[in-house]
Amino acid sequence: MSKPKVAIYWSAACGGCDVKVLDTNEKILEVAAAVDLVLWPIALDFKYKDVEAMADREIDLCIINGGVRNSEQEHIVKLLRRKSKVVAALGACAISGGIPALANLFDAQSILDYVYHKTASIDNPQGAVPQPEYDAPEGKLSIPKFFESVFALDQIIDVQYFIPGCPPPPSLIAKALVAFIQGTLPPPPATVAGDGSVCDECPRERKREAKVKKWKRISQFTPPADTKKCLLDEGFLCLGPVTQAGCEALCPKANMPCEGCMGKAKGVIDKGAKIVSYIASLTDANTEEEAKAILKDVIDQVGLFYRFDLPKSLIKGRRKV
């Protein structure tokens, strides 16, 4: 019997998800022995034309990381969807846009203007900007069209499985791959992660009666001497309560408030709205003036609350005018 075929592809991503696939360590050897890898740009030399030559649904599992930022990524993910039986979104960018989707706070033109004309390190005396098509003396060259905004993978194609995190914990990747090989993946659509929120996995203890007298920036952080103290109780904006479990509270364990990379916990409709709600209930203020003083250092709300999920949030991004 032939081995199942697996493809791994990256769109608008940093490569961190691919590195975490490798960080499954010896598990990757078991996976490599059990499946035929047919595309994996970071590690293997397959070309897009190899994918185009495959029959529809020939790939058994296609794992895609990265959001969709340009026309080439849209084309390749649609091609891979057609060629694959099962598609899994790996990591925050594929699931909900991720950090590159903070670009949705700006229009495409202002990004191109800044990157190619205004950054301190740019050296572009001709004022050249990338063109989708260029007539070189030898023939026509083309590059993808830069989209107006970043899309999550399931805003472009159907996705059956979601493996969250930025980057996803290797333990979850291994769990998903082993379940695929053994044929024990849950019925789709399904998220391969932990149960509940990051707080459920966090060893720190929240005092129910604690109220915050001053919300602090992470630059004002001195690790509490007692590492059992909840970071929220200490006035640090930890996103643990609204964030999907599965990372084993890696950041709070290392004295860093959760920034929400695992995505929305089950039951959360809009992360930012939920965060505003718990900030309000924890803030120890009796008057508006008091509240303003306590909240003074809660800055860049959009950049923190929606750091990994702008395309999937209620606000989506900038307001189009």
């Binding site: 608008a12 940093c14 970071i42 293997l44 340009n70 700006f106 023939g139």
Partner: protein
């Protein structure tokens, strides 16, 4: 003019393609390296608190 496309470039971090043009003798007449990717960290890091950049830019 014969054209060889290497798309994508593999086994590195990032996206790239190479177009090579060969002349009548099969010699390389010209080659173009293209980066079909931009995310715009330069722009969307603006407005973020400086201490948060340590948590944002590792994802470049």
């Amino acid at each position: 003019m014969k054209r060889i496309s290497i798309d994508p470039i593999t086994r590195l971090e990032g996206h790239g393609k190479i177009e090579i043009f060969l002349d009548g003798n099969g010699e390389v007449a010209n080659a173009y390296f293209q980066v079909p990717e931009l995310r715009g960290f330069e722009k969307f890091c603006q407005g973020r608190p400086v201490e948060e950049l340590a948590r944002i830019v590792p994802r470049i």
